[in-house]
Symmetry: C2
Subunit: 201 residues, 2 copies
Amino acid sequence: MTTVGMLLFDGAEELDFVGPWEVLTASSMLRELDGAPADTVVTIAQALDPINCAKGLRVLPDHTLTDHPALDVVLVPGGEGTRTEMNNTTILEWLAKVDETTTWTTSVCTGSLIVHQSGVGKGKRLATHWVAEDSLESLGDVEVVRDMRWVVDGKVVSSQGVSAGIDMALWIVGQLYGPDHARKTQHYIQYDPAPPYQAAI
Amino acid sequence: MTTVGMLLFDGAEELDFVGPWEVLTASSMLRELDGAPADTVVTIAQALDPINCAKGLRVLPDHTLTDHPALDVVLVPGGEGTRTEMNNTTILEWLAKVDETTTWTTSVCTGSLIVHQSGVGKGKRLATHWVAEDSLESLGDVEVVRDMRWVVDGKVVSSQGVSAGIDMALWIVGQLYGPDHARKTQHYIQYDPAPPYQAAI
């Protein structure tokens, strides 16, 4: 059984956390149907007030920073709100503490700026949204990987922007429960991407 | 300027609506940066109470069925909750009425069962999640398209399961604002899918 916590804050980008949320909860549901114990996937924020996401969706957190189950996997989304949260010492100290006992510490998009600032991402190879690669590099003590959809450095896994969290989360599911189960999860969320307008005509 | 309403109900599948939400709000933000008026993208539910989504995320609706802006685009997500909502006459009558003045009436996953039951999808070619194709067909007066990621029949657009809504929403953005802008939106959400474990080894 795996416990996953997703950090929320005002200005968190919606798909950054809902993509991985869908992957990890679908994985859990499928395992439960096979008789395995369910995983726990929860949202965590500094307070229980509704979160105003970057693009306006309003989400209720399940837990506060000081009252949540022990996490095997923590996920830090990106979004406009990271500009504030990367300097929020309460969040940064929380993440550094949580990281001490996680199996995987992960981020999507500009969430890697928070991971870096917490100390967890210092000296690591990290990915981020393409608009933020220079900003991340300017923080120093980091190798920004600009050409990979997600990057694994020890137990720190960071993905590129927004939708990349879906691929990263599927990879994590495969690490936890094997490639076959990850593919089953992919099939359940019918993830056979077919972006339109791929030809310039 | 386009107004988009996403129907929410208990048991709505998270990624079904958050994928298109991200696409449509990102499109609006990018247009605004170019000096165009912002679109309006809102969530709509029968009541303003928190929605308990299919996989446990809790979301606050913006509007009720009787108090929302006129919609150019309506989106009906799928999820476990469609089993109930496909027989909810309040929802069905609302959707039929909204459809009278939309440019596009859309669904993701098992949302097409609601679209069908409302009358809007009767006699149409519709897509749905692979687990629900037989169920949709058994409703009668519908041609279930089993091999396309999304299906356009007049102004009714329906996609396959969960993640397919992202592709469908990008297609809608291209119809509204042109392929170039759709590709710009795709680039912003960094949608260059790279699902892991594609080789059986």
